[in-house]
């Protein structure tokens, strides 16, 4: 159907109007408010000891949660795709759970487990581990909320590449690890990269779950999103906006990385030989001569 000119402009107007009012204007406004008086005030706000500590703690969350979830994600995806087992259906369903649950409920669940009258809380306190209102609890919350990304991104790639190359490698005498490092991992690398980007973005921005388990102690258990919320509630709007801009820029970077990664993934799964593959016959003839 080719809509008539008025219908076309009407639809365009509705779409742009909605996007503009809901998305573009507010995002533009927060950038304007942050840099209203130049770069100085937001820079100062972001280099205050509290803000720097919040940034450090946020990076610590990423440094622990992302590698753990990446290793788990790749292993779990291999298990789901390459192994037939009666438990796979159950695992597959459980993997999706963190996506369906409100972050507040996730926070509550860890609170109930590691709190003072929780299942593990008293024992761990006896042993000298402080989980709740401390960074280990926040790391657990970050792991929980970002657990499914790598699995979800790698599973379809594994299904798509099939097992022929892995079988060839193992026929040629490669052991399990060699097959994994030389054949499987290079084939799924863009899926893994995608998953890592999404996991990182989620850990950087997590608010609800971390709020509950951290106690939000200023300068101690405050990640950047918590810092933004607290600054705003204490009428330090400049600090709140500056923190929000840092997070927003990280989000935009994520989108950029994803669109680049998406294009790369498409190129690498293209059956037509790429330029890099052209020299192959030449090297073959050299070997033959």
């Amino acid at each position: 159907m080719t809509p008539t000119a008025p219908a076309k402009w009407g639809l365009r107007g509705l779409a742009f109007g909605y996007l503009g009012l809901l998305l573009l204007a507010p995002v533009g406004m927060i950038f304007y408010k942050t840099f209203e008086h130049g770069f100085g005030p937001p820079w100062e706000a972001m280099t205050s000891p509290e803000a720097l500590h919040a940034i450090q703690l946020t990076l610590l969350m990423v440094a622990v949660a992302v590698p753990l979830n990446t290793i788990f994600g790749v292993g779990c995806a291999l298990l789901l795709v390459r192994r037939r087992w009666w438990g796979n259906g159950i695992i597959d369903a459980i993997i999706n759970l963190p996506f369906a649950i409100s972050p507040i409920v996730i926070g509550l669940s860890l609170y109930l487990l590691y709190g003072n009258d929780g299942w593990f809380g008293p024992t761990l306190t006896e042993w000298g581990f402080q989980v709740l209102f401390s960074w280990p609890g926040m790391v657990l919350a970050s792991i929980f909320v970002s657990l499914p990304f790598v699995v979800r991104e790698v599973v379809p790639v594994l299904q798509e590449i099939g097992t022929e190359q892995e079988q060839a490698a193992s026929t040629l005498g490669a052991n399990g690890w060699q097959t994994f490092w030389r054949v499987t991992l290079p084939a799924i690398r863009w899926g893994v990269a995608y998953g890592i980007v999404l996991t990182t973005a989620r850990v950087l921005g997590e608010f609800g779950a971390v709020t509950i388990v951290s106690g939000s102690i200023s300068g101690e258990t405050e990640t950047l999103p918590l810092y933004v919320a607290k600054a705003f509630e204490q009428f330090q709007e400049e600090a709140a906006y500056a923190g929000a801009i840092v997070l927003a820029l990280l989000a935009l970077t994520t989108l950029l990385l994803m669109s680049v990664g998406g294009r790369r993934a498409k190129v690498s799964s293209n059956p037509v030989p790429s330029v890099a593959e052209v020299p192959v016959p030449i090297s073959n003839t050299k070997e033959g001569s």
Partner: protein
């Protein structure tokens, strides 16, 4: 004798079960995966369910049917329903414009659609406050009202319907529409009888995902909704206030209700995505899986 090379089985012997991959063949890998999932996800959730039922079904029911928790649940569900209705209409229109229309900067607009998914939820709320809060430069202050809740949820859930409908629109056969028009159907009739039925599975899937997300939303609402009990307090905020006042079993009971609702939604969506005429090429399923994964970047559901 075993050590003698000649007696060793050929290296190229095909693995008995599938491909040999590190650790997994021994069951060790499988055990690690199950252990990690249990420790990180299942145990905490079990603690919530246990806490909600710790003092019996009666107290569970009392906690859920208390005035304040009913008001919060009602507000959450009604706002989420309004939001998904708005999403269904505008999401479809935006998807249409992005697929069928042509204008400069279309690629950029298309990329920006995912921004609400990527933006941390606390930033989303703050962003809306700068334009529609008490210091609104256009004199439109909706902060601490129910309108603000609907607005924040619309922001957060914007991409769901767009991204579920887009692939279906791209795939749709234009010949059907042309046939309909050439047989004398008006533009609206063609939309109602030909286009809409084709897009419906995508719209429904997007709406359900958006609903599940809206039900549990917290970060984007905390600054903008005001959190006034019986007025603008949604369920997730109610749960938090119960934790802070030490009523953990009450918090757990409402959590279990939210949990059950979103899990039902997620199951329903995967059933819709799996069934129907779109299952053949899996377009809708792929779209839904992608939307689910992307929707979680900035926080949520």
């Amino acid at each position: 004798m075993e050590a003698h090379p000649a007696n060793l089985p050929p290296v190229s012997a095909a693995p008995r079960a599938g491909i040999r991959l590190p650790g997994l063949g021994t069951g060790l890998g499988r055990g690690m995966v199950v252990l990690y999932l249990s420790l990180m996800v299942l145990l905490p959730l079990a603690a919530v369910v246990d806490e909600s039922l710790a003092s019996g079904l009666d107290s569970f029911w009392n906690a859920v049917s208390g005035d304040r928790s009913v008001a919060a649940l009602k507000l959450t569900i009604v706002c989420s329903l309004i939001v998904v209705a708005i999403n269904a209409v505008f999401g479809t229109i935006i998807a249409w414009v992005l697929v069928r229309d042509d204008f400069p900067g279309k690629g950029a607009v298309n990329a920006l659609i995912d921004l609400p998914f990527a933006l941390p939820t606390i930033v989303a709320g703050l962003t809306l406050l700068t334009l529609y809060g008490s210091e609104s430069p256009i004199g439109l202050n909706v902060a601490f009202t129910r309108v603000a809740i609907v607005m924040a949820l619309c922001f957060i859930t914007l991409p769901f319907v767009v991204r579920s409908v887009q692939p279906l629109l791209m795939e749709m056969d234009r010949e059907m529409e042309e046939a309909s028009t050439s047989l004398g159907a008006s533009g609206f009739t063609t939309f109602r009888r030909v286009i809409f039925p084709n897009l419906l599975p995508g719209i429904v899937a997007g709406v359900m995902l958006a609903f599940a997300r809206a039900l549990g939303e917290y970060g984007s609402l905390i600054l903008i909704s005001g959190n006034i009990p019986f007025e603008t307090e949604v369920s997730s905020v109610f749960i938090r206030s119960q934790i802070e006042t030490g009523n953990e079993s009450g918090a757990a009971a409402v959590s279990v209700v939210l949990l059950a609702l979103s899990v039902v939604m997620l199951i329903a969506v995967s059933l819709i995505a799996r069934s129907g005429r779109h299952s053949k090429n899996g377009r809708l399923r792929n779209a839904v899986n992608r939307v689910i994964s992307r929707s979680q970047m900035g926080g949520g559901p």
